[in-house]
């Protein structure tokens, strides 16, 4: 990014330093010389340009932007992260981009969009623990694949969507990327959630409302009644089964974290399962809080210690186990169960990755095989 910028614009100033930021999350702190160099290049550029850096201690950029009240409802945020559409959880249009796009936005404060068509998805039915926002999301991936909402904006309605907490909405909106969609919104907010988000970001939250005359190019109803926990098998996030269909698949490692499931609530859920239990002896469970704030909350609640004593490896905040760079990879033949959002061939190494909720990953790590919390 900086290389593009310098080649095109030299030492010219960015359009607006107060609305321009660096976040380092993929490889934080740097675990290779190239990353170390690249991060330092960004820091030096930022100092010269008076740009704020959320450094390697802070965690996942999109989450930090929400915590710091820099991403707001009814605004547009762009960044080099394909899950920037997480910001849809707070009614912000987040768009992931490559470094050419971002260099241009740094310099001009401008960008271009093809305005996507919108699909309305009505969710029905009731489900209960241990099923969670992740299971809802994986089930939608099963139903929608990468075709039904491809290149579209999505609005989720109905009780199962409205009931989602902020972290549940983050989980759902993040994986609109895996549906090949542009952005997802849950337009209905209960007053308690409006207050919670206001408290979370430190300023009053005004939900984004759809235009009265808006047009939907498609309406899809999906019944979630009695939804059991869901698991996406290798090598696609849309290759989804109910946990009972995969029960007993032997695993070697687990990962809880990522922009999709890296909030405090996600680790609380994992700890609920692992409290008083142990990660099975030959299983490696990696825990990566999304941000420093999440890490702090987990410390204060005793969950870091609890998870550590149950046998988990605790990492500093960041993108963690979703890509190379932070907490290791899978070796050939290794089977991993992860709360991340992608299980493409080779994404986390030569092994196979299953995607599931924090509860299912925790239960599986206790059992040594794919399991539902109810199986323990």
């Amino acid at each position: 990014m900086v290389k593009n910028y310098k080649r095109e614009y030299g030492d010219e100033p960015v359009a607006d330093p107060d609305r321009t930021f660096f976040t380092f999350d993929l490889c934080a702190p740097a675990s290779s010389l190239k990353y170390a160099d690249n991060q330092q290049i960004c820091r030096i550029f930022a100092r010269k340009q008076n740009i704020r850096v959320f450094d390697v201690d802070r965690g996942i950029g999109s989450h930090v932007l929400m915590e710091e009240d820099l991403a707001e409802s009814n605004s547009t945020v762009v960044g080099t992260d394909s899950h920037m559409n997480i910001l849809g959880a707070i009614g912000c249009f987040g768009q992931g981009m490559g470094d050419v796009d971002i260099s241009f936005a740094f310099k001009t404060g401008k960008t271009w969009f093809e305005i996507p068509e919108t699909v309305r998805i009505l969710l029905r039915g009731e489900y209960s623990w241990p099923s969670s926002a992740k299971d809802l999301t994986l089930f939608l991936l099963k139903k929608l694949g990468t075709e039904k909402v491809a290149l579209k904006a999505v609005e989720f309605y109905g009780q199962p969507a409205e009931r989602l907490s902020l972290s549940g909405r983050i989980t759902l909106c993040s994986m609109v990327t895996e549906m090949a969609g542009i952005i997802g919104f849950v337009p209905e907010f209960k007053r308690s959630l409006v207050e919670e988000i206001g408290h979370f970001s430190g300023s009053k939250f005004s939900p984004l409302k759809p235009d009265k005359d808006c047009v939907y190019t498609d309406e899809i109803e999906i019944d979630l009644d009695g939804l059991p926990p869901q698991v996406a098998a290798p090598f696609s996030p849309t290759n989804v089964f109910s946990v009972s269909e995969l029960r007993g698949v032997r695993i070697d490692s687990g990962f809880i974290g990522s922009c999709t499931n890296g909030r405090t609530e996600d680790f609380e859920e994992a700890y609920r399962i692992l409290k008083g239990r142990k990660v099975k002896e030959d299983i490696m469970l990696k825990i990566v809080p999304a941000t420093k704030r999440v890490y702090t909350e987990l410390l204060e609640k005793g969950i870091i210690e609890g998870l550590f004593r149950s046998g988990a490896i605790i990492s500093s905040p960041g993108c963690g186990g979703c890509a190379e760079g932070m907490v290791g990879l899978t070796g050939e033949g290794e089977v991993q169960i992860s709360t991340g959002n992608r299980n493409f061939v080779g994404k986390q190494g030569k092994g196979k990755t299953y995607l599931a909720s924090p509860a299912v990953v925790a239960a599986s790590c206790a059992a040594g095989q794919i399991a539902s919390p109810e199986d323990l």
């Binding site: 690249n38 241009f104 990468t146 075709e147 290149l151 061939v345 080779g346």
Partner: protein, 179 residues
């Protein structure tokens, strides 16, 4: 300003059963192990390096070649290298029924044409496009012609802003034309 007509040899990205591979993601195109690389000239060698059956693509591809890929090509991450690796190999353009949203942006911004042709799947299934065929693409008219087999086909037109960016040679050059 780029030349608007191009002739090149095509690579049809098929699986073992002879079907166009759908949902080829950016980790199959350009693996995240090489994200630290920022030199264009170093990127080409990793193109398709993680796509089963196509790992030797970088050695086989020649300057001016054209790729024909399946639906949702370039799904996944925002990495610019997944586009730049093809520019590095001097691939001239990619044809597919559809592309990942960010991938499509990244290519337009680099002045690298991606053409969306919903009928490509059928054309490939009927052997109307096979690896090695010589194909002519008219970027301005969004049309293609298989010279080897004498078949004509159409693509979805680019939107105005995309066309402007492409014709300018990329987003940076386009930026110089606007206030």
């Amino acid at each position: 300003m780029k030349s608007t007509i191009h002739q090149g040899r095509i690579w049809v990205i098929l699986d073992e059963e002879g079907k166009l591979i759908a949902d080829i993601d950016t980790d199959q195109i350009y693996h995240n192990a090489f994200l630290h690389i920022t030199e264009l000239s170093e990127m080409g060698q990793y193109a398709m390096g993680n796509l089963e059956g196509w790992k030797d693509f970088a050695q086989k591809a020649r300057s001016g070649d054209i790729i024909v890929a399946g639906r949702n090509f370039g799904a996944g991450s925002s990495r610019q290298q997944a586009v730049d690796c093809f520019i590095s190999l001097k691939i001239r353009c990619i044809l597919a029924p559809s592309f990942g949203a960010i991938y499509f942006r990244n290519a337009i911004n680099s002045g690298f044409p991606l053409l969306r042709g919903p009928q490509l799947e059928e054309l490939v299934a009927q052997k109307g496009l096979e690896t090695g065929d010589l194909v002519e693409i008219d970027f301005r008219k969004s049309s293609g012609r298989n010279i080897t087999k004498n078949i004509i086909f159409q693509f979805n037109p680019m939107s105005q802003v995309q066309c402007d960016i492409f014709m300018a040679g990329g987003l940076f050059d386009y930026g110089k034309t606007i206030k």
